[in-house]
């Protein structure tokens, strides 16, 4: 059954190109639509250029939203990447 799920994280580092790539590759594994919001900007998590275009930096609040049959798993996967990748400053 389609569902909507949402979770937020405060970035511990800037969202650079490589984590943006890892995030888009991971988001593509899910059939749900997955989006990121930072302030008033939104991006499709499956679009690496869109994710990079958010220009999300250390300390900013990022909300991950997914809609679809695997929404909860998708949000968990993307939150995990945001937590790990920005922590090591990849």
């Amino acid at each position: 059954m389609p569902a909507s799920y949402e979770e937020a994280i405060t970035l511990a580092g800037d969202l650079h190109a490589r984590p943006a790539g890892a995030l888009a590759v991971a988001a593509a594994r899910f059939s749900s639509a997955v989006s990121l919001s930072v302030g008033t900007s939104h991006a499709d998590a499956k679009s690496v250029l869109g994710v990079m275009g958010l220009g999300a930096t250390c300390g900013q609040h990022v909300t991950v939203t997914a809609e679809g049959p695997d929404a909860q798993d998708a949000v968990a996967a993307i939150i995990a990447i945001l937590a790990e990748a920005t922590r090591v400053g990849a």
């Binding site: 190109a17 490589r18 790539g21 590759v25 593509a28 499956k46 275009g53």
Partner: protein, 134 residues
């Protein structure tokens, strides 16, 4: 070099260094699971393009799911289009992207890494034209 089941990417630039640098960037951003092959410069190492280099690169990048070619400018586009007019030597479905070079290659490679088919990879490259940096 080729990775079965994933779309391969070929970069055609007048400059070997430009093609190799963009390939390195796309490979790193996408996690290294896609065949990204540079075909830059002429056969004797000058600025320009080489149909023979492009053909070799397509063969290296081919994993059976098609190959997307991203050209930089001018004669790179003409070289690829001429090649696609006579695709006899090419081993797989090959399409050319009308896309900005760096952004197109990065978007296409990440989409290929996520398991996108040739149509999705082409669309990702061409949508890169509209991506904002600021």
């Amino acid at each position: 070099m080729s990775l079965d089941g994933r779309v391969g990417i070929v970069l055609v630039s007048h400059s070997a260094a430009l093609a190799e640098g963009a390939a390195e960037l796309a490979t790193q951003v996408s996690g290294g699971t896609v065949a990204v092959v540079a075909a830059g410069g002429t056969d004797d190492g000058r600025l320009g393009t080489s149909a023979a280099k492009v053909t070799r690169a397509v063969k290296l990048a081919n994993g059976g799911a098609g190959v997307l070619i991203v050209p930089d400018l001018g004669s790179a586009v003409l070289t690829v289009r001429a090649l696609l007019c006579e695709p006899g030597d090419l081993p797989t479905q090959v399409v050319i992207a009308d896309a900005p070079f760096v952004e197109g290659v990065v978007a296409a490679t990440v989409t290929a890494a996520g398991g996108g088919d040739i149509k999705a990879v082409l669309a990702a490259a061409e949508e890169a034209r509209h991506a904002r940096k600021l």
